[in-house]
């Protein structure tokens, strides 16, 4: 219920929003190393290897990888409808931002409080990039 939700300020980077189950990645991600059919992370040794980011709220440390594969990673997930509903970034870098802009994946950063403290796997999270707001209901 809405009144049980904790509200945090953030900054909108790519407009729009979404809601759903949180998945928290302690590692930076290269989206090229996900399976577009399922949204499952396939990078060996990655913090969320084997788990799907599709249609979830992804809490992410940062982006990584070469200047073009990240773009294709986002694109392939986008055409299969397997992008996250929204991404909450901790460390912002240009390649992941431009990839999200291209496919219109809602993205926010500068969350009030540390996202790794405030959001846990499985929490229900609403992201509103236009209002600059994140709402969290603990699982």
């Amino acid at each position: 219920m809405a009144d049980e939700m904790k509200v945090y300020k953030c900054r909108g980077i790519v407009k729009g929003g979404g809601s759903g189950e949180a998945i928290v990645s302690a590692d930076a991600m290269c989206f090229y190393l996900t399976d577009p059919q399922t949204g499952t992370v396939i990078e060996r040794g990655h913090a969320i290897q084997g788990r799907s980011i599709a249609n979830k709220i992804l809490v992410l440390k940062s982006g990584k990888g070469s200047s073009v594969v990240q773009v294709d990673g986002f694109y392939q997930l986008w055409v299969k409808n397997n992008l996250p509903k929204a991404i909450i970034l901790r460390d912002t870098e240009p390649v992941i931002v431009s990839s999200a802009v291209m496919v219109g994946c809602p993205m926010v950063d500068r969350m009030e409080g540390d996202p790794y403290e405030e959001i846990k796997d499985g929490d229900y999270v609403e992201v509103d990039a236009d209002k600059g707001e994140i709402r969290v209901r603990t699982k």
């Binding site: 190393l33 200047s67 073009v68 990240q70 392939q76 870098e93 240009p94 390649v95």
Partner: protein
């Protein structure tokens, strides 16, 4: 963020949806990184890849009427005329390659198909503001040349090419170009391979910070050395700017490298042993090989000559394909000078306009390949071919034997 009236008009779509999309990209990046304004760029380079995501973006802009006002040079995909004589690809893969070339031609790109533009196909001068994507090109133009580019994605660099501008943030600003950490190097730097391994170590330590390297022995790196160093520092980390004290243009002294900030104690000391240990972690594979692949980043003419010298008239094993991926101009020069013909007699082939990470190489997958480039090994492994790593002389000896011991 300040936009001029003309920039606002573009953002509102007055000059078509292609230019609008490009401006939206630059504006979003500018807002994200707190840029005060856009600044003109004189050169751009796009890490075109022949992957769907990148080609989609170019088509989106070009179909919306966009043409580049500062035409970018481009990375390679693969030489579809030449390599289809040797290897099969699916109709879909071939069609994507064709679409990519067509879209980039239409948007007005300069199709150099070369991944090291700073070395010879699009060389900026000191202090020039540019937008270069390609993870190995960015540290080269910033660190070795002293031009100014942020770490761009292929799509943000293409947007900069269309508009002719880039947001003023990051490495365009003096303060952000200074060193963040100091690394001492006490190792013998013999050839570009050693510089690549050094880059791999440095990238791991520096992440996305600006490292300052201080060498104990006198070193004289050349273009290939800087190129290998930056390519690997941007593979194991995200280094976009570096200094080498007494060598690179913004670091005549250690004080200059840190821009007047307090000089920190060295974060790490890299010795010959550090490099040997790093190499050992990267070169575990041995056994029969089916491919030697050189040219990530693209080989220069002098590197091709070195291959001939090391073969010394001997021949590649019948079971091994030996490919040099070179800058197109170097390949043409090799043909005109008959270096190409002489190498072919030894079983060494060369191709321009081609990247290691393309579908034309898939027939080698499942067996062991060999390269002198950690970056090549890293990206090929993701496509299902394990790679071993040796310096060039080791690659040549293994190619002759057909196996790596």
């Amino acid at each position: 963020m300040f936009l001029t009236d003309e920039e606002k008009r573009i953002l509102d779509g007055a000059e078509g949806t292609g230019r609008q999309k490009a401006m939206e990209m630059l504006y979003a990046l500018g807002l994200t990184f707190d840029a005060e304004k856009l600044i003109p760029v004189k050169r751009t380079h796009v890490a075109l890849s022949g992957q769907e995501g990148d080609t989609y973006w170019c088509e989106l802009l070009v179909n919306g009427g966009a043409v580049c006002s500062v035409p970018p040079t481009t990375n390679p995909y693969w030489d579809t005329d030449y390599l289809t004589k040797f290897y099969d690809v699916t109709p879909e893969e071939f069609d994507l390659a064709r679409r990519t070339g067509e879209a980039y031609r239409k948007i007005g790109a300069i199709l150099t198909y070369h991944c090291a533009p700073g070395v010879c196909t699009n060389v900026p001068f000191f202090g020039e503001h540019i937008a270069f994507s390609e993870s190995s090109a960015t540290p080269y133009v910033n660190g070795a040349i002293g031009a100014r580019s942020n770490r761009e994605s292929s799509i943000s660099a293409l947007a900069a090419g269309v508009i002719g501008k880039t947001p003023y943030y990051g490495l365009h600003i003096d303060d952000n170009r200074r060193g963040d950490l100091l690394i001492d190097v006490d190792a013998d730097m013999k050839e570009c391979y050693d510089w690549g391994i050094l880059g791999y170590c440095v990238g791991r330590i520096a992440g996305s910070l600006n490292p300052v390297l201080r060498f104990k022995n006198k070193v004289n790196p050349g273009p290939e050395d800087f190129l290998y160093f930056g390519a690997e520092a941007a593979t194991s980390g995200a280094v976009a700017m570096y200094h080498m004290v007494g060598i690179t243009p913004e670091a005549p002294t250690i004080e200059a490298a840190f821009g007047g900030k307090k000089i920190p104690a060295a974060t790490a000391v890299i010795t010959g042993k550090t490099l040997a240990d790093e190499e050992a972690t990267l070169t575990a594979n041995t056994g029969v090989i089916n491919l030697v692949m050189l040219g990530c980043p693209h080989y220069t003419y002098s590197q091709m000559l070195e291959v001939e010298r090391l073969f010394n008239g001997r021949h590649v094993s019948d079971h091994v394909a030996f490919w040099i991926l070179g800058e197109s101009g170097a390949v043409e020069l090799a043909e005109r000078s008959h270096l190409r013909q002489r190498l072919e007699l030894l079983g060494v082939r060369m191709v321009g306009q081609t990247c290691i990470d393309e579908p034309c190489w898939k027939s080698f997958e499942g067996h062991l390949g060999l390269t002198d480039s950690p970056k090549c090994a890293y990206y090929r492994e993701r496509r299902g071919q394990p790679f071993a790593l040796r310096r060039l002389s080791g690659c040549v000896e293994a190619a002759i034997k057909g196996r790596l011991d």
